[in-house]
Every structure is written in structure tokens, then in C-alpha cells.
């Protein structure tokens, strides 16, 4: 389904720059990120010791992307998987693949890697053919060794001449057909997991450079607070104070001294505070008010939404601010030397971070090197980029000395960007037969991206606290052509002749907002799927049948049908206090499909006991990896559905501990069953975010089945029901 027109569909505000490097003008289009990073040597290299290195610009976030890319490379090159090593991204040598986000890594990087490796294979085959006089078609490759009719005639490593890859990828390369793949399409174990079960030093948190100092930030007591006075006095461990405006940090040789010094310094600081946050208890009202001052734009206008309508259903849906809630507080290590700085970071976008560090420091980007090292899962734009600036600012006081800056739990839950509170108002029109024929909706939200590297001014947290502060600009939305931000999945996938869908981006941002898994989809999918269930009820139809009746998208129908089989939907039996609900979406209306059936039990509060999920992500490189992403996204969605809400008063975020920001625990986690419709000939569609929003929708609908009430605000707590 393609919208007839998308007037002003990218209400992105200022400066939404190209996401990755741009190709030279007039150059033929190459797959994925290869288009903007065309040199083969940027993607892979062969070594005389029989190893292959791949050097993607996407980063490991715990999603398994480095394993996936290694599988693709090994397959295309015809080498054993164990020969391939994936190097973590770093500026300036890695390809600039923008941000590892949007469930796009296999599309962007996987398709680039496949093409680059196929190109490298063809080049090496050509060279061997020329040297031996054996025609290319008579040469085979087995585990990197080239064989002619009479035996071995060379290998990638014997020919490991870097110059061969110092060439642009040609457009005419043909990767292997699906039927010839042996490694892509299999559940190769994750390459990063052994380190994680043996406690190895894999995270940036574990980086111990010689002479390293530990740093902690002394945060303002509230948002917008200004440091007015700092009393002098001794600090534990001769800790050193770093101050720039209202940015305040301490440096010490040990963690215990750094923490004790931060506590003591906090007691010596005085701040000017003021109210900057809206009233939390009436957040939907504030969203409506702020929308009146916001930037409204059309998402889709098609036909006449009122044509043929005999009955309107009007509903509104609300969700609070939601935290990324990474298990590890964000961390970075920085070291200055001769006016340049090297940063080790778990940022999702090393080049984007570098760009914003350069803006903040007012220096050329070339003076900054960003090296990716893993952190805990981020699920979107958490504090990873912010803490990198903090480390850089702290380390500037001690040139030549590496500085490790670790946020506290309170900083991670209280100062990271949040996924913004939202409000969606829907009017769904049905005709005399109960068929859905008209849809009007208005999606109100802050923009869903404050990611670095995209605006003229830096978006890093502490940049606004410096003596010469940078302004905090309202967050923006990615364009609808890339899936959109607040209106992501706001356009129903169902056949509706008349649609008028609008969004308003707020131009004030009391709470810093940015991207979290799913962006606006977490609210939009639930709101659409809730309305679909209610319309089915009005029409006297089964929710599954009603959806299928409105679908032209065969792959959407296929996942719905599959999940209904898995859950025994047709034969379900009503039990007192229990409910089953359905939710379905195609992520961004461009990516992977997921249909979910949730089973809930309503006790003193609602528990989700079981989830069945059917997915379709096109070609699957690592089936177990895709299943892991769908399962994880579904449990994340369950947590958001049932528990999560950022709390704040007029000055500060108050939900800055796990006690105040609970997430789903082992005792509450539903059993999850997943199945995929394998389509090896179809393009990759991404797996990381597809299951989360349909899970929330399915739980919402299951609650109605169990309790007879229709939720209208997240989370689905007793208070909100």
C-alpha cells in the first residue's frame, strides 16, 4: 500500500542532514551503505595468516549484527566462518554508516557487505585466472583456497595484496543466489557471547588504560539549574575538580575516591533552580495545549474520509515518557594528546558523535577519534553519546591521561533522553456493513530524534551546561520516507479508502526527547489495533476475520493467519479473569511484519502470561538471532505495556532508580513462542523493532477481553485501567 500523497510528510524542522555519507554525483547506485562508502578496502581485508577482517560501520549493541555480517561475508567469499573477524567501527577508517538504528543494519550494512565481498571474490578470481591462464569458470573456491582442474592454484591470503581492494565496488557484481548460500540462513552462534558468559573485559566499562583516572559528574539537582557557587575544600584522594559553567566533574585515581569526591562536591555546590517541567498528572492536557503552539503537518491525505460513513468511533490514546533503562549506566573513556582527543564509546553512531563533539569543542572533526566499544543494550538513543562528551570535558583537564567517566544509575534513568509522551486522537468511520471506510487521526508529540550529528548545533546533554552554552533545540522527526518519527506506523496498513492523518511536532521540549525502539509506533500501533478490535466488535466480527477482511497486504495476512494457528485462536475458550488479544503491524510500514497474540491474567494487576508471535523479515541471515530479537522486543513491549512511566515533578525527573522505574522481572515474564515465514529470495527487512509495538497492542486488546474495559493510556496499570 502506498499513500496517494504525502504532503509535507517530513516535519523534521531544522537540518536533518544525510544519514550516511553521500555518493559522488552521477555515480551508479550501490547497495546499502556501500553507496556512500565505495572503496572495497573500507569493508574488508585479507591477511597472509589466512584471516579475513570485515570492517563495517554498524556497531554491536547486543543485537548480534557482527555475527550476521560475518556470516554474509564468509558465504559470499567462500571462506570458513571462523576465518572472519569483525572489527569494531572507528573513525576515520570505518565506513560512515550513520547510526546503528531503525532495524536497518542488515539492510544497510548486510547488503553492502554482501556486494563488497562478491566484488572482492570476483576480483581475486580474475587475478588468479590471469596468472594461471585457467578460465574463471573452471576455478572453484573452497574455504578461501582457489582450485583449478589440476588442484590448488592460490588463495585470498597468498594474494593478500591490499592494492587489489583499493578500488570502488563495481555496480555489476552478482552475489550468490539464495540456493547457493551455506552460512547465511543458519543459526551460527553469536561471536560476542562467549566473552559475556565468561566475564571477559568486553565493554567500554572494562577498558583499563595505563594511568587511567576515574571521573564522575556532579549533576544539577534539577533541569535547567545553574551552578551559582562552589565552596572550596579538600577532596578525598586529592581528587581534581573540572568545571565549565554548570558542568561539574571530579577526577580521582580510584573509583571509591571519585565517588566520595563527587558526593562531597555536590554538598558544596549551590544552584539556582526553577520550574521547567509540565504538570505530570495532566500530561495529556499539556500535550494538547502545546500542540496548539506546535508545527502541524499532514502525514497522509487520501480520498474523503467521510464518504460513505454511517458511524464514527472517536477514541484518544496516550502514553507517558518512557526511558531506555539500559542495564549499565553509560560510560566512556577519553584521552587528550596534543590538542586531539581519542574517545572510546558505546555510541550508536561514531561519526555522528564525532560531529557533535567537534561542534561542542569548536574544533575540526579530524582532531577527534571515536572508537566503538560495546556497552549494555541501548534500545535507542540513551546516554551513550552524552557521556562521551562528559568524558572528553573531564579529560581535557589532564592531557595525556586517559579518563573513564561512568554515569550513575540516577543519571542513566534521570538524564538520558526519553521517548516522548504522546497523544493520538482517532476518528474511524464505518459504512452500513461495518466496513472501515474513513480514518482521521492526529498524532501529537515531541519529535523522536535528538540524535547527534544531524543539526547545526550539538545535541549532547552537557553542551547546554557549559559556560558558553549551546541552546537545546526541540527534537525532530525522521522523514516518512524513512519510517517517520512520531507518526511512525500511524498510517493503518488496512484498506481504508479515505484517510486524513496529521501530526503536530511540539516546538517546546521541557524533557529532552529522542529515539527509543519503535519511536511513535509503540503508541500508534496499539491505537490502530485497539480501534480495529472495537470496530470488529461493532460489526459482530471476530477480530482476526475483521482484520483479514481489510487487508490487501498478503504478507500481513500470512503472519496473522500463522499466529492465529499457533495460539489456537479459533478454538479459544473464555476463562474468567483471562484474556487473549491480537496485534499486528509492519514496522514503519516498510520493514518486518509481526503478528502477536497475547494472553493476560488480570489479578491485583495485569500480567501477561504468554505471547505467540509470527514474523516475516524477508531473508533471514541468522534464524536464532532474528528469533532472539523478536522475543526480546516482545518482552520489552510487555514491560512498556504493563509498567513503564517516567515520573517527574515541576523540576526534576523523579523516577531515577529501579524502584521508581520498574521494568519486567523474571517472575513476570511471559513465555514467548515465535515462528517465521522464511522468504530467502526477499530483501532483508530488519528484526530489532518489529515485535514490540504489536505486543503492546495485543496486550491492550487482551485486557479488554479479560476485563471488558478498553485501555486508553499506557502503562496498563490498575490506576490507568
Amino acid at each position: 500500500m502506498s499513500p496517494a500523497k504525502e504532503p509535507g510528510a517530513s516535519p523534521q524542522g531544522s537540518g536533518f542532514a544525510a544519514v550516511t555519507a553521500a555518493p559522488p554525483p552521477g555515480a551508479p547506485t550501490l547497495p546499502g551503505s556501500l553507496n556512500g562508502n565505495r572503496l572495497l578496502s573500507h569493508w574488508l581485508g585479507f591477511h597472509a595468516d589466512g584471516k579475513v577482517t570485515i570492517t563495517p560501520g554498524k556497531v554491536e549493541l547486543g543485537q548480534g549484527i557482527l555475527t550476521t555480517l560475518s556470516q554474509i561475508a564468509a558465504d559470499e567469499l567462500d571462506v570458513d566462518f571462523t576465518r572472519v573477524t569483525a572489527r569494531a567501527a572507528a573513525t576515520p577508517d570505518s565506513p560512515d554508516e550513520g547510526v546503528t538504528s531503525g532495524s536497518l543494519s542488515t539492510q544497510d550494512s548486510g547488503s553492502a557487505m554482501r556486494h563488497a565481498c562478491a566484488a572482492a571474490r570476483a576480483i581475486f578470481l580474475q587475478v588468479v585466472a590471469q596468472r594461471t591462464g585457467i578460465p574463471v569458470e573452471d576455478i572453484t573456491i573452497e574455504d578461501g583456497i582457489f582450485h583449478g582442474p589440476a588442484g590448488e592454484i592460490g588463495s585470498y591470503w597468498a594474494l593478500a595484496d591490499a592494492a587489489l581492494l583499493e578500488t570502488e565496488a563495481p555496480p555489476e557484481v552478482t552475489p550468490k543466489p539464495a540456493s547457493a548460500r551455506r552460512i547465511a540462513g543458519t543459526s551460527v552462534p553469536r561471536i560476542d557471547l562467549p566473552d559475556k558468559v565468561f566475564g571477559a573485559a568486553r565493554y567500554v566499562h572494562d577498558l583499563r588504560l595505563p594511568g587511567l583516572l576515574h571521573a564522575r559528574v556532579v549533576r544539577p539537582p534539577s533541569r535547567g539549574a545553574v551552578l551559582t557557587m562552589l565552596r572550596d575544600g579538600p577532596l578525598p584522594g586529592e581528587a581534581r575538580v573540572v568545571r565549565d559553567g554548570s558542568f561539574l566533574a571530579v577526577l580521582a585515581a580510584t573509583e571509591w575516591d571519585a565517588e566520595a569526591a563527587a558526593t562531597r562536591l555536590a554538598a558544596r555546590a549551590e544552584w539556582a533552580e526553577r520550574d521547567t517541567l509540565p504538570e505530570a498528572t495532566t500530561l495529556p492536557d499539556w500535550l494538547r495545549e502545546a500542540a496548539a503552539r506546535g508545527e502541524r503537518s499532514a502525514v497522509v491525505q487520501r480520498g474523503d474520509p467521510a464518504a460513505g460513513v454511517t458511524r464514527w468511533l472517536k477514541r484518544s490514546f496516550h502514553r507517558p515518557y518512557i526511558a531506555h533503562a539500559s542495564i549499565a549506566p553509560s560510560c566512556a573513556v577519553a584521552r587528550w594528546q596534543d590538542g586531539s582527543v581519542e574517545v572510546w564509546s558505546h555510541s550508536q553512531g561514531p561519526y555522528n558523535l564525532r560531529a557533535d563533539l567537534a561542534k561542542t569543542l569548536k574544533c575540526p572533526a579530524e582532531r577527534i577519534t571515536v572508537r566503538h566499544m560495546e556497552g549494555a543494550g541501548c534500545y535507542g538513543h540513551n546516554g551513550a553519546d552524552d557521556v562521551a562528551l562528559d568524558a572528553v570535558l573531564a579529560a581535557r583537564a589532564v592531557p595525556g591521561v586517559p579518563v573513564r567517566l561512568l554515569w550513575s544509575r540516577a543519571e542513566e534513568l534521570g538524564w538520558s533522553p526519553f521517548s516522548p509522551g504522546m497523544l493520538v486522537e482517532i476518528e474511524a468511520g464505518t459504512d452500513a456493513t461495518g466496513t472501515l471506510v474513513g480514518w482521521r487521526s492526529h498524532i501529537i508529540s515531541n519529535g523522536h530524534s535528538s540524535r547527534p550529528g544531524r543539526a547545526p548545533e550539538p545535541t549532547l546533554l552537557s553542551a547546554s551546561m557549559l559556560a558558553e552554552p549551546f541552546p537545546v533545540k526541540p527534537s525532530i522527526n525522521p522523514p516518512m520516507s524513512g519510517g517517520g518519527g512520531a507518526p511512525r506506523n500511524g498510517v493503518p496498513l488496512y484498506r481504508i479508502p479515505g484517510m486524513d492523518i496529521a501530526t503536530t511536532r511540539l516546538l517546546e521540549m521541557p524533557i529532552r526527547a529522542s529515539a527509543l525502539r519503535g519511536l511513535g509506533a509503540t503508541l500508534n500501533v496499539w491505537s490502530i489495533e485497539s480501534v480495529m478490535d472495537e470496530l470488529a466488535g461493532q460489526a459482530g466480527a471476530d477480530p482476526l476475520d475483521y482484520r483479514l477482511r481489510h487487508l490487501d497486504d498478503g504478507r500481513a495476512a500470512a503472519v496473522l493467519t500463522r499466529v492465529a494457528e499457533m495460539a489456537g485462536w479459533a478454538k479459544r475458550v473464555k476463562r474468567e479473569g483471562w484474556g487473549l488479544g491480537l496485534g499486528m503491524a509492519r514496522y514503519k510500514n516498510l520493514g518486518g511484519w509481526a503478528a502477536v497474540v497475547a494472553e493476560v491474567e488480570a489479578c491485583e494487576r495485569v500480567f501477561c502470561r504468554r505471547l505467540w508471535i509470527a514474523g516475516d523479515v524477508g531473508e533471514v541471515v541468522n534464524p536464532d538471532g532474528v528469533a532472539n530479537q523478536y522475543e526480546g522486543g516482545a518482552i520489552h513491549g510487555t514491560s512498556v505495556a504493563l509498567l513503564e512511566q517516567v515520573r517527574f515533578d515541576r523540576r526534576r525527573v523523579t523516577s531515577d532508580s529501579w524502584e521508581d522505574y520498574p521494568i519486567l522481572r523474571f517472575s513476570e515474564v511471559p513465555r514467548v513462542e515465535v515462528a517465521f515465514i522464511d522468504r530467502p529470495e526477499q530483501p532483508f527487512l530488519g528484526a530489532g523493532e518489529a515485535s514490540m509495538a504489536p505486543t503492546i497492542a495485543a496486550i491492550g486488546n487482551a485486557i479488554t477481553d479479560a476485563l471488558g474495559v478498553r485501555p486508553s493510556r499506557l502503562p496498563f496499570t490498575p490506576d490507568n485501567l
Binding site: 566475564g199 522475543e631 518482552i635 529501579w658 515474564v669
Partner: protein
């Protein structure tokens, strides 16, 4: 000097008594397995075994470990000689970012030491102090059951 047994070997660490056991383990002891997550006994990332029982290393004073046996994930097994739990976690691919796994593995080891054949409810209860944000819970539960089976065989 603070002296205790760490992963089977005697150690003497030069740390002030106000340091936490976690800071001592990650600092002078040179380990990386015990992770800092919250500093407040709310997430379990830092969990270690003290005399075989799960303990939050983030709030436990290092002085409290004197004379005791501390076991971290590094003490459970190594790539060459893995604990059955570590083998099982790899077999089930039970993790994504993995930051929570060090603590979960030691709590699971303590569970299997006292209950060699735990049912699912017992596993969930034993792991309830641990937060996992990636949603690997079901794989982790399967991995603990697999390890229990392997250890019984």
C-alpha cells in the same frame, strides 16, 4: 590489606575499608565479570557468591569479605573449562547485550548447588533479583534447566 579467598585463591588487596567489594574486585583484583549496574541492590549485575550465597557486591563493604570465599563469574569456569551453566548459556544463546549475565550465572550456580533439579518457578524466583533489559529471560530459564540436566547426567 584486605584478605579473602577469590575464586579459590588467597588474595590480599590494598583497598580502604570503605570501598565496596565490587570496587575492589573491578579495581585492584583486576576482574571485569562483576558489573556495576545501579549501586543499590536493585539490578543484580554485580552479584557474586560469598561463601556460596549470592551477595550484591555493589553495597557490600570489602571489609565484610575478609576471611570469606568470594566467587565471581570468572571463578565458575573458563573457555577451556566452562561451568555447565556457561556451556548451557552458549548452547541456548541466552543473551543479547550480556551485561546482566555475570550476575545471573552466579545466582544460577548457587541455585543449582542447593536445588539440583529446580522447576521453572524456582528458577524464576532465584533470578528475580536480576534485571535483564534485552528480554533474554526465557532463554536464560531454558539454559539453567539444560545445565541442571547436564549436571545430573
Amino acid at each position: 590489606m584486605v584478605e579473602f579467598t577469590l575464586n579459590g585463591a588467597a588474595v590480599a588487596l590494598d583497598v580502604p575499608s570503605e570501598a565496596s567489594l565490587l570496587q575492589a574486585l573491578r579495581g585492584p583484583a583486576g576482574l571485569s565479570g562483576p558489573r556495576f549496574g545501579c549501586g543499590d541492590e536493585q539490578c543484580g549485575s554485580c552479584m557474586v557468591l560469598v561463601d556460596g550465597k549470592p551477595a550484591y557486591a555493589c553495597t557490600l563493604s570489602v571489609a565484610a569479605a575478609v576471611g570469606r570465599a568470594v566467587t565471581t563469574v570468572e571463578g565458575l569456569g573458563t573457555p577451556d573449562a566452562p561451568h555447565p551453566l556457561q556451556t548451557a548459556f552458549l548452547a541456548e544463546q541466552a543473551g543479547q547485550c550480556g551485561y546482566c549475565l555475570s550476575g545471573i550465572l552466579v545466582s544460577a550456580a548457587a541455585l543449582l548447588a542447593r536445588d539440583p533439579a529446580p522447576d521453572e518457578a524456582a528458577i524464576r524466583a532465584a533470578l528475580d533479583p536480576h534485571l535483564c533489559r534485552c528480554g533474554s529471560h526465557n532463554r536464560i530459564i531454558r539454559a539453567v534447566r539444560r545445565a541442571a540436566r547436564e549436571m545430573a547426567a
